[in-house]
């Protein structure tokens, strides 16, 4: 695997749209060629090299390419968008749409990301060491196909609208989450190790939510069923199982209605 290192040298006046920072766009290119890739500030087209110091070179394919991005990237959008393979390490905070529509490969952000990270994600791995913004692993506006595969791990907290319209894949949040989790989800698994506020599983058709901490307000459409002993992301424990959303439509399998499941850890 070859490594390309980008170090931000000029901050954009507004925001930098850099959907070319992907192993797919870099593959087969030398540093000079990578420097020539287009990026945008408002309506103006620029070259990547105007904002980044670029060293190293890419591998022949995306899978053989690793990108390390350094510096304050809190005004850089779209890092890793639509990537299919390879690896990106972001050494700092990044702005919106990190790993949006990604299909494969791995992104590690050693900082925070803003909203819409992992939008419509299909595969691969997105690891956020800091906090994530709103709409993590959610669907793009209007789409009924949200995150369908891959795994997102957040060490810190996540914002509102986590996993909206999720159909598959897994999201693990180490800290707390804001309102609306797995709204409209039809599959997938969300693990919240900290506390949740309200609107968990609203309009949820299918899928699983696990909460280790408190839930401020439970949806009226979730009904307590039983206590179960299970292991979740390496933690064994007793959980209260709720099913819902009782107001929503559900499929039937072998005559049984399939509900979404919400597990809350029971703490002594």
């Amino acid at each position: 695997m070859e490594t390309v290192t980008l170090t931000i040298k000029n901050q954009p006046g507004l925001y930098l749209e850099a959907d070319t920072i992907t192993p797919d766009a870099f593959a087969g290119k030398k540093a000079e060629e990578i420097a020539g890739l287009p990026v945008y500030v408002g309506r103006d087209e620029h070259k990547l090299g105007e904002f980044f110091e670029i060293s190293g070179k890419a591998g022949a394919t995306a899978a053989e390419t690793k990108i390390v991005v350094k510096g304050d990237l809190s005004r850089v959008k779209y890092i890793g968008m639509k990537m299919t393979a390879g690896e990106i390490v972001v050494d700092g905070n990044a702005d919106m749409y990190v790993g949006a529509w990604m299909q494969g490969g791995k992104i590690t952000v050693n900082g925070n990301v803003d909203a819409f990270a992992g939008t419509g994600m299909k595969g691969g791995e997105l690891i956020i060491k800091g906090n994530a913004g709103n709409y993590l692993g959610a669907a793009y506006r209007g789409d009924w196909r949200g995150m369908s595969g891959g795994k997102i791990t957040v060490a810190g907290n996540a914002g509102s609208d986590l996993g909206t319209f999720m159909t598959g894949g897994e999201i693990v949040v180490g800290g707390d989450v804001d309102v609306h989790v797995a709204t409209h989800a039809e599959g997938g698994k969300i693990v919240i190790k900290g506390n949740a506020k309200s609107r968990l599983g609203g309009q949820m058709v299918e899928g699983e939510i696990y909460v280790f901490g408190n839930i401020d307000v439970m949806m009226p459409g979730f009904a307590y069923r039983e206590d179960v002993d299970i292991e979740v992301d390496g933690t064994k424990g007793r959980f209260a199982l709720y099913e819902g959303d009782l107001g929503e439509r559900h499929r039937k399998r072998k005559g049984q209605t399939i509900y979404a499941k919400l597990y809350q850890q029971i703490r002594a």
Partner: protein
Amino acid sequence: MAEYLIKNGFVFDPVLGIKGDAADIAIKDGKIVETTALSSPKVIDATGKTVMAGGVDVHSHVAGPKVNVGRNFRPEDKLFGYKARSGIERMQGGFSVPTTIRTGYNYARMGYTTVMEAAMPPLYARHTHEEMRDTPILDQGAYPVFGNNWFVLEYLKNHEIENTAAYIAWLLKATKGYAVKVVNPGGTEAWAWGLNCENVHDPVPYFDITPAQIIKGLIEANEYLGLPHSMHMHANNLGNPGNYTTTLDSFKLSEGIKPNSKFGRDQVMHHTHVQFHSYGGDSWANVESKAKEIMAYVNSHDNLTIDMGQVTLDETTTMTADGPFEHHLTELNHLKWANVDVELETGSGVVPYVYSPGIKVCAIQWAIGLELALLANDPMRVFMTTDHPNAGPFIRYPRIMKWLMSQEARDQQFDAFKHKDKVIDATNLAGIDRELSLYEIAQMTRAGPAKALGLAHMYGGLAPGLEADVAIYDFNPNEPCAPDAIETAFGNAEHLFKAGVQVIRDHEIASNGNKRTLWVNAKVNENPQVMRDVKEKFLRYYTVTFNNYEVTGHYLPNPYVIEVDATQ
């Protein structure tokens, strides 16, 4: 205006009867002229290329309230599909429901120059006209819907044809409409109570009338007026297994009625998107093609024309004034559902739909559409449409051409189906080896629809005196080609003239044209009763005033009025 001489192309023109012979086409002052009439034309060498009149679409949902619902409620339909502005081209977006700008350009790119908006809710006529105004290049007209209109229901309950006709004439003028459209007659009014009319004898709640009475009455009123187009029909029971009997029952209501129109059409009913109305079986498990039965009827009845409503196997957006059908659809696929019931007039619904080659029913629908065209004895009466965007986006017309012109292309598609064998069993298509010629395609996409619209004096051919709407395709019909070459060539006209203006040059948009809006001004005897009824309904039941209803002025910056005199 510039003169043009399109030299030596292979011309396909049903109006002149030219079947691919090399010929020259001359353009002057916006019209086709004899080549001798030119003095110093710009010459376009069309050697080795195909030349046809501009395409005419008899049925497409491209402008108006439900189309815009389809745009605005589907941001995902535009994701990553945009085209940036450049030169004279404005920015474009949208796949199944493109922006008006893209609609105009994409039709032009296929060599189409006239497109009729298939359903205009009268109360929203202004909106429809605003969108058509902002659709470049194309000549357009819109069909106001009548089949669930309270005036029509009340007049036809007592078979008052003259009053119905007077009301139609008034509404065409008020809305600047082109033809009489009927969608699920009575069923959409029933839907205002959450109900439906599932066959032609199913009475409309409260109004004490059946769909059959509405259909027959509107045909008669249409012929009473002698409008350019016939009554334009979308029957009850669309999209349901076993519905072909309802379709045949609807067809039969036209029997014995002769056209009364000086505009040269032969039909008294145009039935649209017949693919959706040709299903046998009694459930989605055993649904099968009844295209043979449908076409046996069509082929033997000259006073009927139809269009296909071809499924293109895309993710698309369904939209229709058939409110109950859209509700039925959203119950099936659970996708987002928009509905608008329109006071005293009509309703509509919009639901996204994914026609997947992996789903048996979708593949059967695909086959049925093609069967309709391939079983047609007279291509002048069977037109190519996708009921855009219902069965698929109009940009797939070149792909449909490919399927119609090449058995190999059809076989390739069969092979791509997950349930190929079941699809073959439920349909006739695998046993049909007919391959349509470009001449027949020109009948189905140009001369036929122009004639059925009563616009054969303007569009659909290359005879001198017609509008200079001419498409030149980079396609040599005399050389063997892979099926995909058909799709490529006819999706990307090399040159296109609209009313003598070159709107595409070397495959690029060269002009935004001078789009016109066609409407029909039918003069009838003064009818005080109808005017009294209209004013009373506005006073008591409408939420806009009578004086704020009529569409006037700047909504049609370039109108083209077709005058009809039905005074007696």
